[in-house]
């Protein structure tokens, strides 16, 4: 039952906000809908905790420990982002960057976007999964170009074309999957249901599946932002409004990776070798290294953190590629940590850039003086994302690296190199932003930084203590992914 609430609330929210437009309290309503979604997600999660994985709507929806925590995470971050965007977008409007039409567009498609992601996560049908992913893309394209600046248009266009093509390839993969499945499950609705496929994955035709996986990987991998398919990501994440960047980096990438993993499970079952794993490790490693070196030359703060998203997605993909209970566990943990931390960073960065009136790091200085909370938020967030304990990101990196060391030692030099370069680059650029002197005036209004510290607090907590049931989920999920 909760599942329908979960999907229904944001959908109605989208339509309602589209109609309501930008009358008063539109942002509040947005936040309210997100809150409701969060509650629904909470109930759903609770249900899952109580009575395990379940199938809803005669098999159209399937919720297990793998996607339920992603659902909870998505709903949570969506809510906090809505909270953050309330003052943020108002200021943007006051600065004259936005007009009412666009605010309406923003609010409604924000909800639609959330709905699409939740659908992608909860559906049991690989086809619908594809549809939802495409919908999520379409919902965000116009958000990226919300400012109508040439740069934002260009970014949105690249985002649209590249992800469109990518996702089209994913569709081809899905077709191949169906093609292989229908011989076993017969044509018609059930042949694309993941649960059914999972049941018969051993008999699926290997050649077709390997081909299908290539298409699925390239397709969804484009949305994950795996190098060399990542080219759209920095543009899209940097040029859109900050709340959008936050959800794109924090959530959409996860969802795409989720799709990849769902297919990996099937392919592994069918092939029986670790071809899929190796491919993912390759992509992951390439992304980590390439992103690290690209970070080094960034001047735009949001762009830099977009690249850092690529890096972390690469790390996660690498971990999933290694497979095994520990690595999968670590990857899932890292997904969570990255979402929380990266969105927190984007919140802080958003306020910082808004105050400085630019995204160029060279012009942002001495935050700690102008607004200590933003400064410390950014500093701690950065430290956290760079994998410094006691923040949770380290917990997962710890597991990933140590596992890599004794399973694939050849990969560790690259990881060491990339982590070092990324650390040097990001920290070296953030430190002068936070510390030092500045002539900028103090912030006129009180920024909404509760989300930042909420997220960072969670990350810190998870670094030191992971609640048993959460750990249990991760373990189940890791097991389900072939741990």
């Amino acid at each position: 039952m909760e599942i329908y609430w979960l999907l229904g609330i944001p959908l109605t929210g989208g339509t309602f906000l589209a109609l309501w437009g930008c009358r008063r309290h539109a942002p509040e309503i947005n936040a309210l809908f997100s809150l409701a979604t969060l509650l629904a997600a909470a109930f759903l999660t609770n249900r899952i905790i109580v009575d395990g994985p379940m199938m809803v709507g005669n098999g159209w929806f399937f919720i297990d420990s793998f996607n339920v925590f992603l659902v909870a995470l998505t709903a949570f971050v969506a809510f906090t982002t809505a909270l953050f965007s309330r003052p943020y977008m108002r200021i943007e409007a006051e600065h004259g960057k936005l007009n009412d039409k666009r605010l309406r567009l923003y609010h409604s498609s924000y909800q639609i976007f959330i709905a699409a992601m939740l659908l992608a996560l909860t559906t049991n049908n690989m086809g619908i999964l594809w549809v939802a992913m495409e919908a999520a893309t379409l919902a965000t394209v116009l958000l990226v170009s919300l400012y109508r600046t040439p740069a934002s248009l260009e970014a949105a266009w690249k985002y649209f074309i590249l992800c469109g093509v990518g996702i089209a390839l994913a569709l081809f993969g899905t077709i191949l999957l169906y093609f292989a499945a229908e011989k076993l499950l017969g044509s018609g609705g059930t042949a694309l249901l993941w649960t059914h496929l999972n049941g018969v994955k051993a008999q699926l035709e290997p050649t077709v599946l390997s081909l299908a996986f290539v298409f699925l990987l390239v397709g969804y991998g484009t949305k994950v932002g795996l190098a060399p398919l990542h080219s759209w990501l920095p543009d899209a994440h940097a040029e859109g409004p900050t709340p959008v960047s936050a959800v794109l980096s924090g959530l959409l990438l996860n969802v795409a990776l989720y799709a990849v993993m769902r297919s990996k499970v099937l392919v592994d079952g069918a092939l029986g070798n670790d071809m899929a794993g190796n491919l993912m490790m390759g992509f992951g490693l390439l992304s980590v290294v390439l992103a690290a070196f690209l970070i080094k030359r960034q001047t735009d703060v949001k762009r830099m953190f977009a690249y850092s998203s690529i890096e972390h997605m690469g790390l996660i993909t690498f971990a999933f590629g290694m497979g095994g209970a520990v690595a999968n566990f670590a990857a899932l943990l890292h997904m969570t940590m990255h979402s929380l931390t990266k969105s927190a960073i984007f919140f802080a960065v958003g306020h910082a850039t808004q105050k400085a009136g630019t995204q160029l790091m060279a012009n942002i200085r001495g935050l700690i003086k102008t607004n200590p909370t933003i400064g410390w938020g950014l500093m701690l967030g950065t430290v956290a994302i760079l994998g410094v304990p006691p923040f949770g990101v380290f917990a997962s990196e710890f597991l990933i690296i140590t596992t890599a060391m004794h399973e694939h030692p050849w990969a560790t030099p690259f990881l060491l190199l990339a982590l070092g370069v990324a650390f040097a680059s990001i920290f070296g650029k953030v430190q002068p932003m936070v510390f030092g002197e500045t002539e900028l005036p103090k912030l006129p209004y009180q920024p909404a930084l509760a989300p930042v510290f909420l997220h960072l607090g969670l990350v810190l907590m998870l670094g030191l203590f992971i609640p048993p049931y959460l750990a249990a989920w991760y373990k189940q999920a890791a097991h389900l992914l072939g741990g």
């Binding site: 290539v214 304990p389 510390f435």
Partner: protein, 671 residues
């Protein structure tokens, strides 16, 4: 393995309790942001008490059997394991003893600081202490790494306390960067150590069977990781930047204590976690250590910033310790247990001593900094007259660092040299060739240390003030004096009662080498192995010198007179003598600079003969930076440039990337 109970029963629980206490203090200081008085007069003294307690716990733990607890925090399958054995206990004594003095000092030192920043500083300060103790307690890789990085991070924030200064910012950055890289390599070490079964507790690592190859890999990674923290050449570049940048008590903690945690880690991994040791590790460590020692002391001799000078001398001492570590390994792998015990004793002893005198010297410079606001030795001088307490107490530290009897610095050097004298027993002949040279290098380093200390002390405290402002220099407050007094007392006592200290060290030595170093002498005489062979009785030494001194004074006074006339110093027929004619710091270092010019990149600005206000600037920079680090940076830049080209901006190119990737994968998978 007891679980954490509310009332601590065994040492490890006490230790953990104190860690929590420190954390509480740290966060309390955030609440006390308003009141500077409470912060300095309440929080820091409490923190100092905690340190004292830690020292006590360590002292108990030295003799007590190893105790351990498991905390309900950490990773799901890997809760924090804490364990307190003799090794950790020893380093806890070191930490607590030194940190007590430094924190007492700090409670006075920071009274001039504004409340807001001070609260933050106090938070990081106590986090730093807690982190270091947890490093010593950790009994699984995760807890260790968390504590390790908490230590690094908090010390980074301490270093950048005065972040308005760009140099300090860059120093902090360099520090945290190298610390992080080192930490990652430690991660890899543990990845190797856990040897397959994904269990990261030290207990399982102790049992893991290693092939020589993987063991060596682990050792090298550990040497790199811990060396980066300890300031082992060539990973030392951050140290002379970061230590001076921090507020003096923090510098004292970092140099005196934090570096030792790296030594602790090295010992822990090499002798405890790894269950095979290989000879060439020792040779490598010995070589690196000696290079570090000489490199450090040479650069210390040419510094003109007093804190930087001390930082370089820390590098030297770390080098000596690492060399001792290498020698221990050599003996140990050669089956010479007793000698390994001797060398290890020297190592631990020197670590302890260095902690005390380096802490003392750093806080001493702190008082100077407070009194004068000057760090550059070229503007100091003659302070002995304005701040006698600081001067005399610092003198003790300086003499100890110079390795002069009867103070503590000498004892450890004496032990180390003794160890070198035993090398003929070694089986590998090639070592017999190497060791004498090594001994010579240690002796050379010690002698140069004396040079450095004369320079440091003479230029800062003796002579005439090189700057008129110094005449207003004021003596340190009572809290500072108390702290310095404590540390100085440590230097003296450790020097006078080596026999006792060695007795205390016995459990540690036995733990690591399964051997005990028997002291053949009585309680007042130190005679390792056999009194026939070598002995040193600082008390007698001290007594004799004192008696002779006293007698001489009495005799001179009695037989002759004590008349004294005051006058100007002899001006050699040149009336315009002034303070600027004394040797500057650069001048004092000049001979060393001339001799060891090879290692330095020297930047000089000499004034032209006719300038009205002649200014001389000379800096001897670390050449390693230019031949090692700069190229790395360049390569990274170049690579990132190449990577940047991929991000071409043209959508067709991006499409081509996807296209080619697709085709490639299709070919790759279907063949």
């Amino acid at each position: 393995m007891a679980t954490l109970s509310l009332f601590p029963s065994d040492p490890v629980q006490w230790a953990w309790g104190i860690v929590l206490f420190w954390l509480a203090l740290g966060f309390a200081s955030l609440l006390l942001q308003g009141s500077q008085r409470l912060l300095t007069r309440l929080l820091f003294p409490l923190g100092a008490l905690g340190a004292l307690a830690i020292a006590g716990v360590g002292a108990v733990g030295l003799s007590a059997p190893a105790s351990s607890i498991v905390l309900p925090i950490g990773l799901p399958d890997l809760p924090f394991h804490l364990r307190l054995d003799a090794l950790s206990a020893f380093f806890m004594v070191l930490l607590g003893g030194v940190a007590f003095g430094i924190t007492v000092y700090a409670s006075g030192y920071f009274r001039s600081m504004a409340a807001g920043p001070l609260a933050l500083l106090s938070l990081w300060y106590h986090l730093f202490l807690a982190g270091m103790v947890t490093v010593l307690l950790a009994d699984d890789a995760y807890a260790f790494m968390v504590a390790w990085e908490v230590m690094a991070l908090s010390s980074y924030f301490l270093v950048t306390t005065d972040h308005k200064v760009p140099e300090i910012r860059s120093a902090g950055f360099l520090y945290l960067l190298i610390a992080h890289v080192g930490a990652v390599s430690l991660l890899l070490t543990f990845g190797v150590l856990q040897g397959g079964h994904g269990d990261y507790t030290f207990d399982t690592m102790r049992l893991a069977e290693m092939t020589p190859f993987w063991a060596s890999a682990a050792f090298l990674l550990a040497l790199f990781g811990f060396g980066a923290k300890a300031g082992l050449v060539p990973m030392h570049v951050w140290l002379p930047e970061a230590h001076p940048a921090a507020p003096s008590p923090v510098s004292a903690l970092m140099s005196g204590v934090m570096l030792k945690t790296a030594i602790y880690g090295l010992l822990r991994v090499t002798f405890d976690l790894l269950n095979i040791q290989i000879g060439w590790w020792g040779t490598l460590a010995l070589a690196l250590g000696l290079i570090t020692a000489l490199y450090g002391v040479i650069f210390a001799a040419v510094q003109s910033d007093m804190k930087r000078l001390l930082a370089w001398s820390s590098i030297e001492n770390i080098g000596v310790i690492i060399a001792a570590f290498g020698l221990t390994l050599i003996f140990y792998t050669d089956g010479k247990g007793a000698l390994a015990a001797l060398t290890l004793t020297a190592l631990l002893y020197h670590a302890l001593n260095h902690a005390f005198f380096k802490g003392l010297l750093f806080v001493g410079t702190g008082s100077v900094l407070h009194a004068t606001g000057v760090r550059h030795m070229g503007h100091l001088g003659g302070l002995m007259r304005f701040m006698p307490w600081t001067a005399w107490l610092t003198l003790i530290g300086a003499l100890a660092l110079a390795g002069l009897p009867p103070l503590n610095g000498f004892v450890s050097e004496w032990l180390l040299l003794q160890a070198f004298l035993f090398t003929p027993g070694l089986t590998q002949p090639y070592l017999n060739m190497v060791i004498p040279v090594a001994a010579a290098a240690v002796a050379l380093a010690a002698a140069l240390a004396a040079y450095v200390m004369v320079k440091f002390y003479g230029v800062v405290f003796l002579g005439q003030p090189r700057d008129p402002v110094l005449h207003h220099a004021h003596e340190a407050g009572w809290a500072e004096r108390l702290g310095m007094l404590w540390l100085a007392a440590g230097c003296v006592l450790l020097g006078l009662f080596p026999a006792q200290v060695i007795e205390w060290l016995t459990p540690v030595v036995r733990l690591l080498t399964n051997q005990t170093l028997l002291n053949d002498g009585s309680w007042l005489m130190l005679a390792p192995v056999s009194a026939e062979r070598a002995s040193y009785a600082p008390l007698i030494f001290f007594a004799v010198v004192a008696v002779v001194l006293g007698l001489t004074v009495l005799w001179v006074r009695r037989v002759y007179h004590g008349r004294v006339r005051r006058s100007d110093p002899w001006d050699c027929g040149y009336p315009e003598q002034d303070a600027r004619m004394q040797d500057s710091a650069e001048g004092f270092g000049q001979p060393i600079r001339q001799i060891f010019e090879v290692f330095m990149k020297i930047e000089r600005e000499t004034p032209d003969p006719f300038s009205r206000t002649p200014r001389y600037r000379g800096a001897s920079l670390d050449k390693l930076w230019f031949i090692l680090y700069a190229p790395i940076a360049r390569v990274a830049d170049w690579l990132s440039q190449q990577a940047g080209r991929l991000q071409h901006g043209r959508i067709q190119w991006y499409l081509i990337y996807s296209f080619v990737t697709l085709i490639f994968l299709l070919i790759f998978t279907t063949r």
